[in-house]
């Protein structure tokens, strides 16, 4: 059996080296997805805005400075494109910027005289999220200004309990989810394609007629897939480091172990898909669909948990808690955020069970479906 496994691995690696398109695909797809999604992640912390600073004085300078400086651990709240009234108005009217904050000419004078100046926030409100984001950010600036200007009249906020010492970086949060997606997707695609191409390349009958068991075939495919997935994961980590400041140094052996378990899960799904469908085309589509869905559901479970009180979102959250990837993703996040070495045995048992079920099912499906067509 070991010789059979080794032969399959050597053969597949040789084919892959001759035609690296498959390997490139398993790398390219997650890398492109991660790159593009990371751009969206930035959307959550920095919003472009134009300021029309009509007033010139200490207070308006302080207020603009405050808007420039306010930020979370991930970045500034505002990207101020201009403070020049003419440019600001032009940018807003042309649609280049979605929001315009107008500081009236009387701003400084009003404050000096103890009057209340009025800012105007104009928004192209085609997406209610844009309105909310800009409105809340402006409120934050006003709150900070109020705190400085009239501390006695301000209702202050004191921090009580918080789950983590400081708010977890959204970059890291997203990075873990994307890494899980990348490993799962690469494992599914690599294993599925390695197996299905035996049918498409019309070499399946040689494999089927061999005296060695199908387990050797599946295991051989898994090993080749592991080598390819390992290469693509390394590249994905490099992209995450470059784009999302992913803290590679916080990865420990437990982290790597969970990634390996995720690989096995992806490989078992890929093997089952390939032994059932026997065509490469639907496998790629299916892997992308499963990978992206798992990313959105399991990768965001800890976010949606807090607002999953009724409606469809609660149903999605309930689905998420039954997907073992959810708990693994949360554990990976804990490892990175806190550096703890917590280990949930239940997740391991559940995931291993699934891997076994999918693995056995793929061998069973291969045995049951010994049909060859198309001149094979």
């Amino acid at each position: 059996m070991l010789t059979a496994i080794r032969s399959i691995v050597e053969k597949d690696l040789k084919i892959s080296s001759r035609n690296p398109a498959m390997l490139i695909l398993s790398i390219l797809v997650p890398v492109v997805f991660i790159f593009l999604y990371s751009l969206v992640a930035q959307l959550s912390f920095t919003n472009p805005v134009a300021i029309s600073k009509g007033s010139d004085g200490v207070y308006s300078d302080q207020f603009v400075e405050m808007m420039e400086e306010m930020k979370s651990v991930d970045g500034s709240y505002f990207e101020i494109l201009t403070t020049d009234p003419e440019k600001a108005s032009k940018q807003y009217n042309s649609g280049k910027v979605a929001g315009l904050i107008e500081i009236p000419p009387s701003f400084d004078e009003s404050i000096e005289n103890g009057e209340v100046p009025k800012l105007t926030l104009s928004i192209h409100n085609m997406n209610a999220d844009t309105t909310k984001n800009l409105q809340l950010r402006l409120s934050h600036a006003i709150y900070l200004f109020q705190e400085k200007l009239a501390p006695d009249q301000n209702i202050s906020v004191d921090k009580g309990f918080s789950k983590f010492e400081q708010d977890v970086s959204f970059k890291w949060y997203t990075g873990i989810g994307l890494l899980v997606f990348a490993v799962l997707y690469a494992a599914m695609v690599n294993t599925g394609m390695l197996l299905a191409r035996e049918w498409e390349d019309r070499t399946a009958k040689e494999l089927i007629l061999t005296s060695v068991s199908f387990s050797a075939l599946i295991l051989g495919k898994w090993i080749t897939s592991f080598i390819q997935t390992f290469v693509s994961t390394l590249l994905v980590l490099a992209v995450l480091l470059f784009i999302l400041d992913f803290p590679l140094t916080r990865m420990n052996m437990t982290f790597v172990f969970w990634l390996f378990i995720l690989f096995l899960l992806g490989a078992s799904i890929g093997a089952l898909a390939a032994s059932t469908i026997k065509k490469t085309l639907p496998i790629v589509t299916l892997s992308a669909l499963i990978g992206i869905s798992i990313y959105l559901i399991s990768g965001n479970e800890s976010s949606i948990r807090g607002f999953a009180h009724g409606g469809v979102i609660e149903s999605i959250w309930k689905i998420a808690i039954y997907i073992p990837v959810t708990d693994i993703t949360n554990q990976l996040r804990l490892l990175i955020i806190t550096g703890s070495s917590s280990f949930n045995m239940m997740s391991l048992v559940m995931t291993t069970g699934l891997i076994l079920v999918f693995g056995v099912a793929s061998v069973y499906t291969l045995r049951k479906g010994l049909r060859l067509s198309g001149g094979q």
């Binding site: 919003n47 979370s72 409100n125 085609m126 949060y173 992308a288 869905s293």
Partner: protein, 369 residues
């Protein structure tokens, strides 16, 4: 060969393509399913209600604390209140925030009247969630300060339209446009590649009629499928995600040259990449990426600088930028220049087809063909 024979050939290829697509349902999975999956997941997870569930504990139970609670409960976005107070029991709220079932619990202490201070407990799993709850709280506190006459700066909100487009409706409009572009591209690519994968390429290439008739047959079939595939996404958007449609027929008409160009791009991709399993993921990921990072998920003007830069030369982003305002009633027409550019893209798409087939003819035919 006359024009009539050429036309017959094109229609024959069109009918044959539709037959292939009916038999090979796997080729229809992506155009019909993917935009729906993207819409459902993105709208549900990222486009949910604006009302954030929180715990609100009033230990003070005074006139001042009641007024503060009123202010917090009444602050709202264009669509809904900013907060949905779902827990007022201190112990349950603390448990909720520890388990992550609540992102924030606001406690008004007994001595609130003297200290003018509130306390927050947070499940600070990421800065995005925290930004949402903390900034909402500050917004509510400003409202309360305004009531008291303590506010130092007031704001006046001016929106372009008196009505708001919910995030999920915005996603639905974009998913509809995505389905048209993605379907036209991927179906054309699949059909072009089908002859190679199924070893029928030589029959097409050896036809006495101009071979590019096959390309136009693919273009027609992909356009037909694109329009059909857009319908489920459109209906889902209308009935599940509050998409209030404007100018639908106009948008479909405008999309015709875009779909022509997309089909041509699909054929170019298939010509170069050749195999299903290579071109499929590249097209899928390109369009999903376009949706997220080039105007589908949020308007280009709200994107980070790198994405804004990318969108200026990534032509698909203009489809979202130009047609979303039409779909949501923020504009009634495109500019003459926009119409001209879109028409030119369609014309270019038509003219490129013969070149693709001529190039395809130059390639080797092997593998038993």
């Amino acid at each position: 060969m006359g024009m009539k024979a050429w036309l017959y050939a094109m229609i024959a290829v069109y009918k044959r393509n539709l037959k292939i697509l009916r038999r090979q349902k796997q080729l229809l999975v992506t155009p019909f399913i993917l935009p729906i999956v993207v819409l459902i997941l993105v709208s549900t997870i990222m486009g949910g209600s604006d009302s954030w569930p929180i715990g609100l504990i009033d230990k003070s139970d005074t006139g001042a604390s009641h007024e503060l609670i009123n202010s917090l409960e009444s602050v709202h976005s264009e669509l809904a209140p900013y907060f949905n107070v779902i827990e007022t029991d201190s112990e349950k709220a603390q448990d909720g925030v520890k388990e992550g079932r609540l992102h924030m619990v606001i406690t008004i202490p007994e001595d609130f009247q003297n200290t003018n201070k509130v306390y927050t407990d947070t499940y600070n799993i990421n800065t995005d969630m925290m930004k949402n709850v903390k900034l909402r709280l500050e917004h509510g506190l400003l409202k309360e300060m305004d009531h008291r006459g303590d506010l130092q700066i007031e704001t006046n909100l001016l929106t372009e339209k008196p009505y708001a487009v919910p995030r999920s409706a915005f996603f639905a409009g974009s998913a509809f446009l995505l389905s048209l572009m993605l379907s036209a591209t991927i179906v054309a690519a699949n059909l072009f590649s089908f002859d190679r994968e199924n070893r029928t390429r030589k029959e097409i290439l050896l036809t006495p009629v101009g071979i590019h008739a096959a390309g136009y047959g693919i273009m027609l079939a992909s356009g037909t499928v694109a329009i059909l595939a857009s319908l489920p996404t459109l209906l889902l958007g209308i009935f599940a995600f509050q998409l209030d449609l404007h100018h639908l027929i106009q948008v479909y008409l405008i999309m015709i040259p875009v779909m022509i160009m997309c089909a041509t791009i699909g054929m170019i991709i298939a010509h170069f990449l050749k195999r299903f399993h290579i071109l499929q993921p590249i097209i899928i990921i390109t369009f999903i990426g376009t949706f997220f990072a080039a105007g589908g998920f949020a308007g280009v003007s709200m994107l980070p600088p790198i994405a804004r830069g990318f969108s200026t030369f990534w032509l698909f982003s203009y489809i979202f930028e130009w047609l979303n305002p039409l779909l949501h009633g923020f504009s009634t027409n495109l500019s003459s220049m926009q119409y001209l550019l879109l028409t030119l893209s369609g014309v270019l798409g038509i003219f490129l087809v013969p070149f693709i087939y001529r190039r395809e003819l130059r390639g080797d035919i092997n593998g038993g063909q």
